[in-house]
C-alpha cells in the first residue's frame, strides 16, 4: 500500500479510524486540533459513522470518551497539555474505574510554548494516575502506537495516555497503514460495579490498580517499543525519550552511536533496562523533550552513587524544547551555526487580523475606560489575548480558560470597581459560564464582554459550542435581562457602542455585553466557497 503523507496529529487520527474507534472527543487546542479535524474531514470516518463533533471542553470530552468505553466500544480523547488540567478529575479517576472498551487519551504538549501558557509535561499526569504512557518518536510510530494502545487498553482494562509534542504533531512524513479493524459490539463491563467509585468500591479498585502496576511495567519491558541498543563505549550511557531520539540520531549521520542507548517510548519506565544501562556505563545522559522526569527518577533526592547528566545539571537547558544542536552540545560534538540575524530584522509578533471585530471591541473599551485608573481588564485565552500587545495594550490578565470572569469577580468582591472581563464565545461555554453563575449568585459588580466571533478562532475556526446560545445562558444563570446588551463591533457604530460600554461600566451590578461579529477568517472562507 502507498504510504500516506501525514502530520503526526493526522497519523494518530488515521490510526484511530483504522483501529475501530466509535467516537473521538476533543476541544480544539494547539498542537492537538488537527487530530479531531482529520477525523471530521475523513470520508472513511464518515462512512463508519464515527462520532467526531467538538465537545464544550476537555472534561466533557474525557467523560464522554469514558462513557463510550463503559459500553465496550473504542474511544479517543484529544487535548493540548493544559486541557488535561481541565479534564484532570475525570482523567485521574478513569485510572480507578479502568476501561472496558479501549480508551486512548492523546495529549499534545507544547514545550517552548509556541502557542501556550506553560510547558507542563503530561507524562507526569500519566505517572500520577498510574496508567501506561506511550510516547512515539515519529509519525509511523505514532500510527502504530494507536493500534497497540487500544489493544493494550483492552488487555489490561486501563485507559492509555498517548503523549506527543509540537514537533511531532505538526511535522509531516510518510506513514504506512495497517489493515482496518471493525468497531466493537456493545458489551457492558462484566463487573457492573466497576465504574461506581463509592469509597468502598474505589478502595478495592485502587488496590487493583496498584497491583496492576507490575503488569504495566512488564509490558513496558517486553512490548518492543522500549529498546536497548548496545554500544562499545561504556564511558556514557544515553537514555533518550520520545522525539529526543531523533535529535540524537541526527548527530550521527551513519546512525552508529558509540554509546549504549536506552530509547524509552513506553512507561512505566522499564526498570530492568534502566538497571542494565546503569550497571554497564560510567555515567548517564538523559535527553527528554519536556521536564526532567526520568532524570529526577534516576537522580533521586540525594544523587548517591550515580552521575546523571541532563536538564538538572545544565548539560541541557532546563526549559524549552530540544533540537539537534542542543543535543550536539550535550554530547560535546561539533555544533554548527550559520550567521547572526542582522540587527535590522524586527520582531513580527502575531496580531489580530485586519478587520477583526475584537479590534473594534478594544477601541471602544479602551476609550470607555479612559476615565478610570489603569489595570481593570481581566481577559482570557483566544485571539483577543493579542489585545495585550501594542497598540491596544487593552488587557491586564490572561491565565487559563475562563479565568477572566472569575478573576474579575474576585477583584470586585475585594472592592475593585469597575472590573471588566473580556472572554470569547467558545471560551465562555468552555469554562466561563460557571464563573458567570457564581457572579450572578453573589451579585458581583462586574462587566463581562463576551466578544462573540461565532467560532473558535485562534485554533483555526472550529465550530463554537456557544453559537446561538449566549444570551439564553446569561439569562438562565441569573444576569438581569436589562443588562444583557448585544452590539455590533464595527467602526460606524463606535459612538453608540462606546455609550453602552460606558453605561454598563458605571452600573453597580452584573452586566454582560455581547459584541457580535463573525470572525474575518471564517467569513472569508465562507465567501470563497
Amino acid at each position: 500500500m502507498q504510504k500516506l503523507l501525514l502530520l503526526g496529529a493526522e497519523a494518530i487520527a488515521q490510526a484511530a479510524i483504522d483501529a475501530g474507534i466509535t467516537g473521538i472527543f476533543a476541544y480544539p487546542g494547539t498542537p492537538s486540533t488537527e487530530i479531531t479535524e482529520y477525523v471530521q474531514n475523513s470520508k472513511q470516518a464518515g462512512e463508519k459513522k464515527i462520532r467526531s463533533a467538538w465537545s464544550a471542553n476537555e472534561k466533557t470530552a474525557m467523560e464522554a470518551g469514558l462513557g463510550v468505553s463503559y459500553v465496550g466500544k473504542r474511544a479517543m480523547v484529544c487535548m493540548k497539555h493544559v486541557g488535561l488540567n481541565v479534564a484532570a478529575d475525570a482523567f485521574v479517576n478513569s485510572a480507578i474505574t479502568g476501561a472496558n472498551g479501549g480508551l486512548i487519551v492523546v495529549v499534545a504538549d507544547d514545550p517552548s510554548m509556541h502557542s501556550s501558557q506553560n510547558e507542563q509535561d503530561s507524562r507526569f499526569y500519566g505517572k500520577f494516575a498510574m496508567i501506561p504512557i506511550l510516547e512515539p518518536t515519529n509519525q509511523q510510530e505514532a500510527y502504530d502506537m494507536v493500534h497497540y494502545g487500544f489493544d493494550l487498553s483492552e488487555k489490561l482494562s486501563i485507559p492509555v495516555l498517548l503523549r506527543i509534542t509540537t514537533r511531532l504533531a505538526h511535522s509531516r512524513a510518510g506513514v504506512a497503514q495497517k489493515p482496518e479493524r471493525g468497531q466493537n459490539e456493545l458489551r457492558l463491563p462484566s463487573d457492573m460495579r466497576q465504574f461506581i467509585l463509592l469509597p468502598a468500591i474505589a478502595r478495592k479498585r485502587y488496590k487493583g490498580l496498584l497491583a496492576n502496576q507490575a503488569l504495566f511495567l512488564d509490558d513496558s519491558e517486553k512490548s518492543g517499543f522500549n529498546k536497548y541498543i548496545d554500544g562499545p563505549d561504556k564511558s556514557r550511557g544515553i537514555i533518550v525519550c520520545g522525539i529526543a531520539y531523533n535529535y540524537l540520531m541526527e548527530n550521527y549521520p551513519d546512525r552508529n552511536v558509540p554509546f549504549p542507548i536506552l530509547k524509552i517510548t513506553q512507561y512505566p519506565a522499564p526498570r530492568d533496562m534502566i538497571e542494565r544501562l546503569v550497571g554497564a556505563c560510567d555515567e548517564i545522559l538523559v535527553l527528554e523533550e519536556g521536564a526532567p522526569m526520568i532524570e529526577e527518577l534516576l537522580k533521586g533526592f540525594l544523587s548517591i552513587g550515580l552521575t546523571v547528566k541532563g536538564r538538572l545539571d545544565g548539560t541541557v537547558p532546563r526549559d524549552g524544547e530540544l533540537n539537534p544542536n542542543i543535543v550536539a552540545r550535550a554530547l560535546n560534538l561539533k555544533d554548527t551555526y550559520g550567521q547572526d540575524i542582522p540587527d535590522l530584522v524586527a520582531g513580527r509578533p502575531p496580531s489580530m487580523c485586519v478587520g477583526c471585530g475584537h479590534i473594534d471591541v478594544y477601541n471602544a473599551l479602551n476609550e470607555a475606560l479612559n476615565e478610570y485608573s489603569k489595570g481593570r481588564v481581566f481577559s482570557d485565552i483566544g485571539c483577543y489575548t493579542l489585545g495585550a500587545l501594542a497598540p491596544y495594550n487593552a488587557i491586564n490578565t490572561c491565565v487559563d480558560m475562563g479565568a477572566s470572569i472569575t478573576m474579575a469577580k474576585g477583584a470586585a468582591d475585594a472592592g475593585f470597581f469597575p472590573a471588566v472581563a473580556v472572554i470569547g464565545d467558545s471560551t465562555f461555554t468552555h469554562s466561563g459560564m460557571t464563573g458567570l453563575l457564581d457572579a450572578a449568585n453573589d451579585g458581583s459588580s462586574i462587566t463581562v464582554l463576551i466578544s462573540d466571533n461565532s467560532t473558535t478562532g485562534m485554533t483555526g475556526g472550529q465550530k463554537s459550542s456557544a453559537s446561538g446560545k449566549i444570551e439564553a445562558i446569561c439569562k438562565a444563570v441569573g444576569v438581569e435581562e436589562d443588562h444583557i446588551k448585544v452590539l455590533k463591533p464595527l467602526k460606524k457604530f463606535h459612538e453608540e457602542n462606546l455609550k453602552i460600554i460606558q453605561e454598563e461600566l458605571a452600573y453597580p451590578g452584573l452586566s454582560v455585553i455581547i459584541p457580535r461579529r463573525e470572525c474575518i477568517q471564517t467569513l472569508g472562507r465562507r465567501m470563497r466557497i
Binding site: R172, Y337, P350, S351, G460
Partner: protein
C-alpha cells in the same frame, strides 16, 4: 541526496503551498521527506517558517540543525534574513523582494535588500510583479518556487507534475498560470546564475 530547506514568510502568505509542491515532487521519486510547520498563534500575521527535509536516506530529526540548511526560500524579504542562523556557509537564499508590512517598526526596504546582497549565494526577485505580468498576482509563491527550482536537485518536470496534481481540480487555466509562474521564476534564477558565471 539531501536537501534541507527553510521556508519562510508571514502567517497567511501560504508558504505551505510551496512545501506541498516540493513534497509531491519528492514523493514521486521515492525520496524520504519530513516537513515541520507552525500552527496556532503565529499564523495570525506573525513570522512563520517550515522545515522541509528531503533525502534519499531515512531522516532522523524533524528540525534542521542550525547552520546546515541548504536553502532558505522566503516569500518576504525581511523574513528571509530571520533564518540566517540556519543557513549553511554554501547555502542559497531565494527570496521575494516584495515587503509585507504589518508592524510599525518595519525597516527600510533598501537596508533589507543590502542585507540580502551580502549573502554570497542569493536570488532576489519581485515575485508579485512577475506574477502580475503572467496574469495572476496570487501565483507569486510559485514564482519564488521557480526561482528555487535550479537548486532543488529535483527534475524540473517533477515540479510541473506536482503543480498539475495540486491545482488540477481548479481547472486548466489555474494550472497554466502556475506553470507559467514556475517557469518565470526559474528563468530569472537561471539568468542570475549564468550572469555570475
Amino acid at each position: 541526496m539531501k536537501k534541507d530547506i527553510i521556508l519562510a514568510g508571514v502567517g497567511g502568505q501560504g508558504i505551505l503551498t510551496i512545501a506541498s509542491v516540493i513534497g509531491l515532487a519528492a514523493i514521486e521519486v521515492g525520496l524520504f521527506l519530513k516537513q515541520a510547520e507552525v500552527h496556532g498563534m503565529s499564523q495570525r500575521g506573525g513570522d512563520v517558517q517550515s522545515n522541509l527535509r528531503l533525502s534519499d536516506k531515512e531522516i532522523a530529526s524533524d528540525l534542521i540543525p542550525f547552520g546546515q540548511a541548504d536553502m532558505i526560500i522566503s516569500v518576504e524579504p525581511m523574513e528571509s534574513l530571520r533564518y540566517l542562523p540556519m543557513l549553511s556557509k554554501e547555502g542559497w537564499l531565494i527570496t521575494n523582494t516584495q515587503t509585507f508590512i504589518n508592524i510599525p517598526n518595519y525597516p527600510a526596504k533598501e537596508d533589507i535588500i543590502a542585507g540580502i546582497e551580502k549573502i554570497k549565494n542569493h536570488v532576489a526577485l519581485d515575485a508579485e510583479n512577475i506574477a502580475k505580468e503572467i496574469g495572476s498576482a496570487r501565483a507569486a509563491n510559485i514564482v519564488v518556487l521557480g526561482a528555487a527550482a535550479p537548486f532543488l536537485d529535483l527534475d524540473y518536470n517533477l515540479l510541473e507534475n506536482a503543480l498539475n496534481t495540486l491545482f488540477g481540480k481548479k481547472g486548466e487555466k489555474v494550472v497554466g498560470l502556475n506553470l507559467a509562474a514556475l517557469k518565470a521564476g526559474h528563468d530569472f534564477a537561471m539568468e542570475k546564475i549564468e550572469g555570475r558565471g
